[in-house]
Each structure stands twice: as structure tokens, then as C-alpha cells.
């Protein structure tokens, strides 16, 4: 049995704003095993980024409930100093916008060396050698020269490679990738995904992949959690997700992917839009947009229940017993 690397239990991260409390993450359970790639899928505003930032304890929101266990340690109980030792070392992160994620006024070398200096106590020349090795590993040509370049001289794809080099520099056990390819050209996307896949196999790193792109999920993930309104609405392995999705939201997401086979003139889209966090109501959060919604869906909030082996969904359609009890 593989070891659990990251386990989030009943996690709730709320934002306290001037307009009231916004439950961005509202009771999430996710487990990532060693060497596994887990995807979190959802539209903008579904809480997937906040979930990943909570794992790093970098969210501006407040964790009001639940636990985060990483490599046997209670992340939420660590001191700020201990947490610094985890960030960038055991758990590293890459972001959506490679154009802004690198500091414009420092060289690539300085930003990469910094990460290595903080966590690996190496000598000067070894640190530099490590940096060059990392740049070479992520496929950057002329790494020695690249160390002296500033970020604005690099293309988006190159910057994302540098970000990956920084993230992987200290051999993290978990790489959190928050929409790593969203801002990139399609051809570059494929290269970056391939690079991540390569590093995952060679370094044995687990990946938590945040994305709204089901194509990326199909490419990369072992298991997938679909998020809606701050909660997981369906969780299963990647094959099941595409062959027999249970939740209408997941089905909608899959239907709205363009395919080569169908010849429809308009691409399917889920009617309506994600409710702004904080404006949630009784009943299933997806019910206003759901074409299968029944009376119960608008009145009672469904629980995440097993619908198959390693497959769970939060939907009244698949919770027959509970529904009967209601009627």
C-alpha cells in the first residue's frame, strides 16, 4: 500500500471580508498518495486555488476547520519557521502566470540559487552547479548564460520552465501546480506537461494539479476531484471520470469539451454561471444550473457518497436511499 503524502480532512477556508464571510473552501477531503498525480478540476471561483494555497499555508483566508497532514506532520500546527522549512523544500508550488511569478528585478540565477541556498546547505560552487543542473533538467538551453538573464528577456514557456526548476530544485515530495499551463500557448502547454510528467517519474514527486482543462487532466492525472462552490462534487480515477461520470456537473464539463467526432455547430456549455462564493443557498449548490434537478435538490444539501469502487459523488440522483427517506 502506498503511503499517504498529503491528507486534507474536512477542510474549511473562509475569507472574512467587509461584506461578510466567504466560504471559499467548504469542507474538503483530499488524499494524495506518494508518486500520485491528483487533479482538482472546476470553473473559476470553485475554490480550487484556495485549496492548494491552504496546503502551503499561503492563503490570505482563514482555516476555520479541518486538518492538513503532510508527510505525517500537522501542517496547520507548525510554527511559521517550521513552515518555511517545508515550503519550497518538501512542498513546492508553480503558478498560473509565469509572466508575473518571477521577480522582475533579480536574475534567474539569483532566484534559483536563493531557493537552493535556503533549503540545501551546499557550498557556493555546489549551489551553482545544482542550479545549472536544474536548468538543464527542465530543458533550458545554455543554462550558464541563463543564470545571468532577467525574467523579462524570456518567453512565457521558458519562464514556466524556470519556475519548475525553482520548484523542483530541492527535490520536493509534492509539487503543487496551480493552472501551470493556462497562460501558455498550446504547443508550449504540451511541452510543459511533458516536462512535469518526466520529472514526476524521475524524481518520484507527487503532483497536485489545479486546472480547469479536462484535456490536461486526461494527460496527467491518476485521480481527479471535481470542485463546485467550494466543495468536491465528484471524485474518482481519471478513466472513470471520462467513461462514467456521475455528477451532472462533471457530465456537463465533459460535454463542453470540443471533440473531433461530433459535428455539432455549437459547443455545449453548462447554463448559468458559478455562484459567487458567499451567495450559497440551501440544497445542492449546482441545482440552479442542473438539468436533472428535482424538488429535493433545491431543498437539501447532498453528501459525498460512494457510487462505485473509489468513486464518490455529491448528487441526489445517485443517493437513492437517502432520497427515498426524504420522500
Amino acid at each position: 500500500m502506498k503511503r499517504k503524502l498529503l491528507e486534507m480532512k474536512a477542510l474549511k477556508t473562509y475569507f472574512y471580508t467587509g461584506d461578510g464571510v466567504v466560504p471559499a473552501v467548504d469542507g474538503i477531503d483530499i488524499t494524495i498518495y506518494e508518486g500520485e498525480t491528483v487533479g482538482i478540476v472546476g470553473e473559476s471561483g470553485s475554490g480550487k486555488s484556495v485549496t492548494s494555497l491552504t496546503a502551503m499555508r499561503l492563503t490570505p483566508g482563514k482555516v476555520v476547520e479541518g486538518s492538513v497532514t503532510f508527510d505525517g506532520r500537522d501542517i496547520l500546527a507548525l510554527s511559521e519557521k517550521e513552515m518555511r522549512g517545508v515550503r519550497g523544500n518538501d512542498m513546492a508550488m508553480i503558478f498560473q502566470e509565469p509572466m508575473t511569478a518571477l521577480n522582475p528585478v533579480f536574475t534567474i540565477g539569483e532566484q534559483l540559487l536563493e531557493a537552493i541556498r535556503i533549503h540545501m546547505k551546499l557550498g557556493r560552487s555546489e549551489t551553482k552547479a545544482r542550479a545549472i543542473e536544474m536548468l538543464r533538467l527542465v530543458g533550458i538551453p545554455r543554462p550558464e548564460q541563463m543564470l545571468r538573464e532577467y525574467p523579462h528577456r524570456l518567453s512565457g514557456g521558458m519562464r514556466q520552465r524556470v519556475m519548475i526548476a525553482i520548484a523542483m530544485a530541492c527535490n520536493p515530495k509534492l509539487l503543487i501546480a496551480d493552472e501551470p499551463t493556462t497562460a501558455l500557448d498550446v504547443t508550449i502547454q504540451a511541452q510543459i506537461l511533458e516536462l512535469m510528467q518526466q520529472l514526476k517519474t524521475s524524481q518520484g514527486t507527487s503532483i497536485l494539479l489545479i486546472t480547469h482543462d479536462l484535456g490536461v487532466v486526461a494527460e496527467m492525472c491518476d485521480r481527479v476531484a471535481v470542485m463546485y462552490g467550494g466543495q468536491i462534487v465528484e471524485e474518482c480515477d481519471v478513466l472513470t471520470l471520462f467513461t462514467s461520470p456521475k455528477h451532472p456537473y462533471t457530465q456537463g464539463l465533459i460535454k463542453s469539451m470540443p471533440t473531433l467526432e461530433t459535428n455539432e455547430r455549437r459547443l455545449y456549455s453548462i447554463p448559468g454561471s458559478v455562484p459567487p462564493p458567499g451567495s450559497l443557498r440551501d440544497g445542492c449548490r449546482f441545482s440552479p444550473r442542473c438539468e436533472f434537478a428535482q424538488a429535493i435538490c433545491h431543498e437539501r444539501h447532498p453528501q459525498l457518497e460512494a457510487v462505485g469502487a473509489g468513486h464518490s459523488a455529491r448528487c441526489w440522483l445517485h443517493a437513492a436511499e437517502a432520497k427515498e427517506a426524504f420522500q
Partner: protein, 310 residues
């Protein structure tokens, strides 16, 4: 880079011509005749006319102006009507104390302003933020002459450890530098705070946090260097201003600086001294501006002056 500096130096010429023309015209518009002032109240019109001819103020204005510029090109700033000394010599006599004051005041500004701004920015809304900003409000609202008098009272009268006036030794500069430094530190503090707060929400700060960088390093290294461009601008302006002489402060502390010299020259209708000083100060200001622009490139690698489009 060399080409850029050369270009900027050449651009100074029209600027300085403009300054000389403006100062010349304005002085002509001001009522009062220097010849009458020199001759005294009981001089006969003939005597005044003789002095006018000696000064050359009887000739047409354009002739005077062209003559003046011709002299300038030869490095001659003219002769003071008041003392008969070369204007440039008089300016240079007073300039060292102005430079000293500028350096010390800027030091005070940067140390107090930068640090209180950073301290405030690290915890917005906290007690230390409010304390730093209250100090800043105090500094901005306090007129320099008032603060100067208070400091003289405290440090020269009640606790006599510093001189109340003069400009010959280093200790003479302590109080004036504090006065000038504190008032501009207040401005710099607010600016530093807002610049850092603006930078602190950027993605690359989150990246630095995700790498495990310490909080103070994030502020002093990652945030501050990005926030530096507006900060340098204000420090540069401050230096330029101070080099032009700090009239009020020099008066309160009876210092012999450029500011007081200009005011005295104006009061005496000492045209050549006023024109010379204005030109001198303008030249300094333009040079400081150029240096500030060059500093931008040193701080932010995205700013480059060696390309054609720059």
C-alpha cells in the same frame, strides 16, 4: 549607455538657455533699478545715469541678454553689483555648506523615511503602522522654521549641546540637517509604505513565500527593490531641492548657504548674482535628474537606455 548620457548632456543646453532667458526676463519685469540702489537715495540723475552706463543697463535688452550669454559661454557668471566680486566665486564660497547640508539632510531623510515606511508596510493596520504614519503626518505638517526654532530651544538653549547657528563646523549642520531631513523623511515614509504595499500583493512575492524565504528578506530584498523607482525619484527631487539652497532653514540657523545668498541678492536687485545663482541651481537640478534616471536602470533591469527606442 554612453550615447544616452551624451544625448542627455546635449539636451541640457536648450534647458539652460531657457532658464537664462526666463530669469533674465523676470528680473527685467521686477520694478526697481539697480543703478538707483547703488547710487543711493540722494544721488543726482546724472550720477545714476553714469552708474547705468557702467552696468550696461542703459543698452537695449537683447544686447544685454546676448552679452550675458556670451560671458556665460566663457565661464563668466558676471560680477556682483553689491560686492563687485565675481558671482561664480561668491556662489562657490557658499556652495560647500549647502552641499554638506544636503548630504546630511538626505542621510536623515533616507534613514528615517525608508525605515519607518518599511516598518509601517510590514504590518499594515498595526500599532507600529499607525505610529509611523502619525510621525509622518507630524513631519509633513510641521513648518521647517517652527521645527528649527524648537530644536534650537531644546538643543542649544535648554540642553546646550549644539550651536544654534553658523556653518563652519560639522556640528553646525546637525540641527539644520535634522529639520530638513525630518520633514522630507515624512514624505518618503508614506511613499515607501504605499510603494511596498503595492508590490507586496504581486505574484512574485507569493513565489518568494512559496520558496520559503524569510519574511524580512521578502520585504527588504524582493519587495523593496521593486518599490525603489518612486523612492529614488523622491530622494532625487529632494537632493535637487536642497542643493538649490534651503532658504528658511538657512535663515533660522543663520547659515551661509546658497538659499540665503539668492534671497539677499534679490532684495538688493543684484541682477547678475540672481541670474548666476538661478542658472547654477538649474544646472545642478538637471544633473541630479540625469543621475536619478541612470539610477533607475541600475535598480530595474527592464529600464534600459542603450536601445534606440529608449
Amino acid at each position: 549607455m554612453f550615447n544616452y548620457v551624451l544625448k542627455r548632456l546635449l539636451q541640457m543646453i536648450p534647458t539652460l538657455i531657457g532658464v537664462s532667458l526666463l530669469s533674465f526676463i523676470i528680473l527685467q519685469l521686477v520694478p526697481g533699478d539697480p543703478a538707483e540702489l547703488i547710487a543711493g537715495l540722494d544721488a543726482s540723475p546724472e550720477e545714476v545715469q553714469i552708474i547705468r552706463e557702467r552696468l550696461g543697463t542703459d543698452r537695449p535688452l537683447y544686447e544685454q541678454y546676448i552679452d550675458y550669454n556670451w560671458q556665460l559661454l566663457q565661464g563668466d557668471f558676471g560680477t556682483s553689483l553689491r560686492s563687485d566680486n565675481p558671482v561664480l566665486q561668491e556662489i562657490l564660497e557658499r556652495f560647500p555648506s549647502t552641499v554638506n547640508l544636503t548630504i546630511l539632510a538626505t542621510l536623515v531623510t533616507v534613514v528615517i523615511g525608508l525605515f519607518s515606511g518599511i516598518i509601517a508596510a510590514t504590518k499594515p493596520g498595526s500599532v507600529r503602522d499607525h505610529t509611523a504614519m502619525a510621525f509622518s503626518l507630524f513631519g509633513i505638517s510641521m513648518p521647517v522654521f517652527w521645527l528649527g526654532i524648537i530644536l534650537i530651544l531644546v538643543f542649544a538653549y535648554y540642553i546646550p549641546i549644539l550651536p544654534s547657528g553658523g556653518s563652519s563646523e560639522l556640528k553646525h549642520f546637525v540641527l539644520p540637517a535634522l529639520v530638513l531631513g525630518i520633514s522630507s523623511a515624512a514624505v518618503l515614509s508614506r511613499l515607501t509604505r504605499s510603494s511596498i504595499l503595492e508590490v507586496i500583493n504581486q505574484d512574485y512575492i507569493r513565489t518568494a513565500k512559496a520558496k520559503g524565504v524569510r519574511q524580512w528578506l521578502i520585504i527588504y530584498k524582493h519587495a523593496l527593490k521593486n518599490a525603489f523607482v518612486p523612492i529614488i525619484t523622491v530622494i532625487g527631487m529632494e537632493i535637487g531641492n536642497l542643493l538649490g539652497g534651503a532658504v528658511l532653514t538657512e535663515t533660522v540657523f543663520s547659515m551661509n548657504g546658497l538659499g540665503r545668498y539668492i534671497i539677499q541678492s534679490i532684495q538688493f536687485r543684484d541682477y547678475s548674482a540672481v541670474q548666476g545663482s538661478i542658472l547654477f541651481v538649474a544646472l545642478l537640478f538637471v544633473i541630479v535628474n540625469l543621475l536619478v534616471d541612470l539610477c533607475y536602470a541600475a535598480v530595474d533591469p527592464r529600464i534600459r537606455y542603450d536601445r534606440k527606442e529608449a
